[in-house]
């Protein structure tokens, strides 16, 4: 207990230095290697104004990089990048660019916004010329692109700056790229090898036909054709990450998926493939075909109710086998179908209520197991909205809050449980735990703050002395270290 304050402070200092170190790096990215780029541009402009028009320059030096070789996009490399990979389709790419008309007039530049331009390359998010151009680059490369209107804004132009049928000149620097994160936690990274057709994706419950190749540390451990239902891949032994990626894929797409253990075989590993615990996996997946499941808006209420019962069973089955993520997917489906339904007649209303209640209650339990406590609380709140006396919901919310160190709130929840059911012994135990924790917490706080003022005074005195020293020597670096050291020391002393 006595040690805790110094440790905490040390952490803070560490965080600080780390941020400081990140600082300049970030600035560099923001500015790109602007000096270089503008210099390049200057030379280029010189060339264009004195000797050659840009078009002539590209005719003599430019390389046609269009797939059908129609000289729609020509490229001149001004600075070579690092040898190695080039961006793949869908990669999240950071670039700096300046776009000009042939008369030299700038119409758009990422430098003016003081931040790099970010895009998922090769997916038609930007004009064709840039998609093609960036895909051809390497990290750090700087190049010039001459783009015919068909690869830029065409006959429509981009009013007010780009007139119709303009040939454009881009200068692009590729700063960085990495695969596309399919989940917010970055647990699934996708890189597309072959782009799929159209815009249609499988949805939750769709039947997909895929070819899988799974690798772990470079070793191929499975290769097979398989058909499964999105959200239920577990039944066919396909890892969660592949399942989750399905909703983002199109027919015919072939991609690489980099899976964190959570989305692979997790803590248990997979002995039958000789995969140990917490292994990262690489899957190559081809979506050969799929049949969509009916969307929520395509079903009437009765159909939804019927399906919800089946989905609930599926969820429970996953829950029992400890597949909490999979269970969450199933229960979540019930919520998304029925959340906005009100139903006609008492019978239907009750059926909806009952299903929603169970779904939220089970979601709360799943999230509790997954240690996603805020989600637990949220789902319990939904249950309490429907039924303010729900013992399980109150208890689970209390548990989640207890684990989030919100002792007072937890205490209130458990007391409410006892009001609903005075014979709930577990809740009684939990109340005792809460009370003990609250006491402990108070005491710790007391100790932490006890000598605070004295410490501050000492600290101020030292900083004052150091400042004077700094003014004398002017060595910032050493001083910083000294401050940290002295601060830690003073805490140890207390």
């Amino acid at each position: 207990m006595l040690h805790s304050p110094p440790v905490r402070l040390a952490e803070v200092t560490c965080g600080y230095t780390e941020k400081q170190m990140r600082g300049p790096g970030k600035t560099r990215e923001i500015l790109g290697t602007r000096a270089c780029v503008s210099a390049e541009m200057a030379t280029f402009e010189d060339e264009s104004s004195t000797s050659q028009s840009p078009v002539d320059l590209f005719n003599s030096q430019g390389i046609d990089i269009t797939p059908n070789k129609d000289r729609g996009v020509c490229k001149i490399v001004k600075r070579h990048g690092k040898e190695g990979e080039r961006p793949m389709i869908g990669d999240k790419v950071h670039v700096h660019y300046t776009g000009r008309l042939l008369n030299g007039k700038k119409f758009d530049s990422s430098f003016d916004r003081k931040e790099p331009f970010v895009l998922n390359v090769g997916k038609g998010q930007v004009i064709k010329a840039l998609d093609i151009g960036v895909c051809s680059m390497q990290k750090g490369e700087v190049c010039l692109l001459l783009c015919k209107p068909e690869y830029a804004y065409g006959s429509a132009g981009s009013p007010p700056k780009v007139p119709t049928n303009s040939t454009l000149l881009f200068e692009v620097e590729l700063l960085n790229f990495r695969g596309e994160e399919l989940t917010e936690d970055g647990g699934i990274l996708r890189r597309i090898k072959v782009k799929g057709e159209g815009y249609n994706n499988p949805n939750e419950g769709a039947t997909v036909h895929v070819h899988l190749e799974g690798r772990c540390g470079g070793r191929l451990f499975e290769a097979r054709d398989i058909t499964f239902v999105v959200g239920e891949s577990e039944d066919m032994g396909v890892p969660l990450g592949v399942d989750r990626a399905m909703e983002k894929m199109q027919k015919g797409e072939c991609c690489l998926l980099y899976l964190k253990p959570k989305y692979g075989y997790g803590k248990e590993g997979k002995p039958e493939y000789d995969i140990g615990p917490n292994a990262e996996l690489l899957y190559e997946v081809t979506l050969k075909d799929f049949e969509k499941a009916k969307e929520s808006w395509e079903m009437d209420l009765n159909e939804k109710l019927e399906k919800a019962v089946l989905v609930k069973q599926k969820g429970t089955q996953y829950f029992k086998s400890g597949r909490y993520y999979h269970a969450v997917i199933q229960y979540q489906r019930i919520v998304s179908w029925l959340e906005m339904e009100c139903g006609v007649g008492k019978e239907q209303q009750q059926a909806i209520q009952a299903l929603l209640l169970v779904a939220h209650l089970n979601l709360a339990l799943c999230y509790l197991r997954l240690r996603e406590y805020s989600q637990t609380v949220e789902n319990c709140n939904k249950v309490v909205e429907l039924d303010s006396q729900n013992e399980k919901a109150l208890y689970r919310r209390g548990e989640a809050r207890l684990l989030r160190n919100e002792f007072t709130l937890a205490l209130m929840d458990f007391r409410q449980v006892l009001q609903v059911n005075p014979s709930n012994r577990a809740a009684r135990c939990r109340i005792a735990v809460c009370q003990r924790k609250i006491r402990e917490h108070h005491e710790r706080d007391k100790k932490i703050y006890a000598n605070m003022f004295q410490r501050f005074a000492e600290h101020d005195a030292k900083v004052g002395r150091l400042k004077r020293k700094k003014e004398e020597s002017g060595l910032v670096d050493q001083n910083n270290k000294a401050v940290k050291k002295s601060r830690t020391k003073s805490q140890d002393g207390s």
């Binding site: 941020k19 970010v118 038609g124 065409g154 917010e184 936690d185």
Partner: protein, 592 residues
């Protein structure tokens, strides 16, 4: 209380420590202060509060005086100079947290008739209090802004430019004041950025609070505001100015617009609820952002120009969907404008059929049709039709083919169906002329489209008068195609003739039924007229009985003259249809 007694009390307070003051003391102080204010002795109170020796008292108990002071200023019964001076003094001396609580509570309790005055008065003081909070102000700023915006959202948004100038309820004044209010905090974030790349947590929090404020402002009041009823830009519009400044704040706090608009996770649920969408960036706010950017071109100069028009359209379609789904003039108008602007940059004949698989690309045209048919506001109906046509122009051949069939199946409105049939005719005409034909409006593909569209879904029971638009357009289309094809030796002639024959066969049944029905109706109407005329003559002879009987006999609420006109008109239409039918039959027989 006698003066000397009061002096004693004050003397005692001056020497008492803050924590030793009892609730009775507080009460007494407030009573005395309150009485002063009520009686208008504010000069005296000001002197007391400014007295150096009293600063301790004011610091510990002064907060309570704010409430009556604010009431007095807002009430405007007297010259507020002294009250305002007292408030300013209190705001500088009392504890910042207490002050904030009191001021925010006052704001929440604002008299519904004086919301604007109250919050404009309070804003300057809250700003001062916040600036006293130093580095821990982000949270409090968030609280203050939320409370302010909640009050402002209660004010009606001006509808016309004139109302905006009058600003009867004070919304525009509030918006302007709000901008002044947040300015120092925006500046703080900005100066942090230039000073060092290291971001402090306070900085981050301020940024988050300001972002939330901007998003909320976009939702209310900007989504309701009519920003360009009259395209008169010379006149200064406070709401437009507000919109511009909000966009400026977004860029000042380094929030990239593409990220907000295009790369924001739209469906949080897919990711197993890990990153659920929080309510601080509602889709409506982002829809308004898209509108301001793409339609009003506010902040367009800092928006990257390299996005492909189709991608922009795809992203905006979600927003258009939301804007059009709400039955509210300002929303629908924004949706339609955004739709037009998003389509204008797309090349004609370039949208691929796969786009129609996306949900908003399905639902937006459906809503558009609904607006065209049902919306009570005429200029919206007209605009919807224009956008509908514009969208059709942008689809490529295959997409048009699919879209036409889909609308014919779902619209169930003769007017809309006639628009589609007219488009089919135009496409057939176009495809024979243009060099890069894609074949979707000729040959067997055209025939299959005609089979689905040139028909009378209710068979002989079709109400021809009601479905007139569709029937006429179908006949026009058939005639055009037959004339076009008769000179060529293409394989579709037989198919075309078959379609025409089947259609005409049913139509003829319809026509003869309708004609005889309307003919009889007209006849009986004429008979009645005769009878009435006769009766009238007789009656005018008798004169004693008035027009009672005549009134009893009038049919269907419509005066007989109008009925007569409608029936005549219908018969003329049927004649017109019949003449077209005859012409078509002639053409088909000529060639055979």
């Amino acid at each position: 209380m006698a003066t000397n007694q009061l002096d004693d009390v004050i003397q005692r307070w001056r020497t008492t420590k803050e924590k030793d003051l009892k609730p009775e003391d507080h009460e007494l102080f407030l009573n005395i202060g309150g009485t002063c204010i009520a009686q208008g002795d504010t000069t005296q109170l000001l002197d007391f509060i400014k007295e150096e020796k009293n600063q301790g008292i004011v610091k510990s108990m002064g907060c309570g005086l704010l409430r009556p002071l604010i009431k007095d200023v807002v009430g405007k019964e007297r010259d507020p100079v002294h009250c305002e001076a007292i408030i300013t003094h209190l705001v500088q001396i009392c504890r910042a947290n207490d002050l904030l609580d009191v001021l925010l509570r006052e704001m929440e309790d604002a008299d519904p008739d004086a919301i604007a005055d109250t919050i404009i008065l309070l804003m300057q003081h809250i700003q001062l209090v916040l600036s006293r909070l130093g580095d821990s102000k982000a949270l409090s700023l968030g609280r203050a802004l939320a409370a302010l915006q909640k009050q402002i959202s209660k004010l009606p948004v001006p509808y016309s430019r004139k109302q905006e100038q009058e600003d009867k309820y004070g919304l525009c004044r509030c918006c302007t004041a709000l901008l002044t209010f947040v300015q120092p905090f925006v500046q703080e974030v900005k100066s942090q950025d230039t000073k060092s790349p290291v971001t402090t947590s306070n900085d981050e929090e301020l940024r988050t609070v300001l972002l939330k404020f901007c998003m909320q402002s976009l939702r209310e009041p900007l989504l309701e505001a009519q920003l360009d009823r009259e395209a008169d830009t010379t006149q200064n519009s406070p709401l437009r100015n507000f919109a511009t400044e909000i966009m400026a704040i977004l860029s000042a706090i380094q929030e990239p617009l593409p990220k907000l608009l295009f790369y924001y996770p739209l469906r949080g649920k897919e990711d197993m609820g890990v990153g659920r969408q929080d309510d601080s960036h509602p889709t409506e706010s982002r829809a308004c952002l898209a509108y301001l950017l793409f339609v009003q071109l506010i902040a367009m100069e800092v928006f990257p120009a390299v996005f492909s028009p189709i991608f922009v359209l795809r992203c905006n379609m979600e927003y258009i969907n939301i804007l059009l789904s709400r039955k509210d003039e300002s929303w629908i108008l924004k949706g339609l404008d955004l739709y037009v602007k998003s389509l204008e940059r797309v090349l004609d004949n370039s949208l691929p059929v796969q786009l129609l698989e996306l949900r908003p690309f399905y639902s937006v045209p459906q809503i558009l049709v609904k607006i065209m048919i049902e919306c009570p506001i005429q200029h919206l109906r007209v605009k919807a039709l224009v956008v509908f046509q514009l969208f059709i122009e942008k689809l490529n051949g295959e997409a048009k083919h699919k879209f036409f069939r889909c609308i014919m199946k779902t619209s169930q409105h003769a007017g809309v169906e006639s628009v589609i049939l007219k488009n089919i005719k135009n496409q057939a005409e176009h495809s024979s002329k243009s060099e890069h034909r894609d074949g979707w409006f000729e040959g067997t593909l055209l025939i299959s489209l005609l089979r689905d569209t040139v028909s009378l879904p209710q068979g002989p029971e079709t109400d021809l008068l009601h479905g007139m638009d569709r029937v006429m357009e179908s006949l026009n289309l058939l005639r055009y195609l037959l004339i076009k094809e008769r000179t060529k030796s293409t394989a579709i002639w037989t198919d075309l003739c078959n379609i025409a024959k089947t259609y005409i066969k049913i139509l003829r049944v319809c026509l003869s039924m309708s004609k005889s029905y309307y003919g009889t109706e007209l006849k009986s109407l004429h008979e009645e007229k005769k009878i009435k005329a006769k009766e009238f003559k007789e009656m005018s002879k008798k004169k004693s009985i008035q027009h009672m009987i005549v009134k009893n006999e009038s049919l269907g609420g419509m005066p007989p003259e109008a009925q007569d006109k409608v029936l005549q008109c219908a018969l003329v239409t049927y004649d017109l249809m019949e003449s077209l039918v005859v012409r078509i039959e002639e053409i088909t027989e000529e060639r055979v």
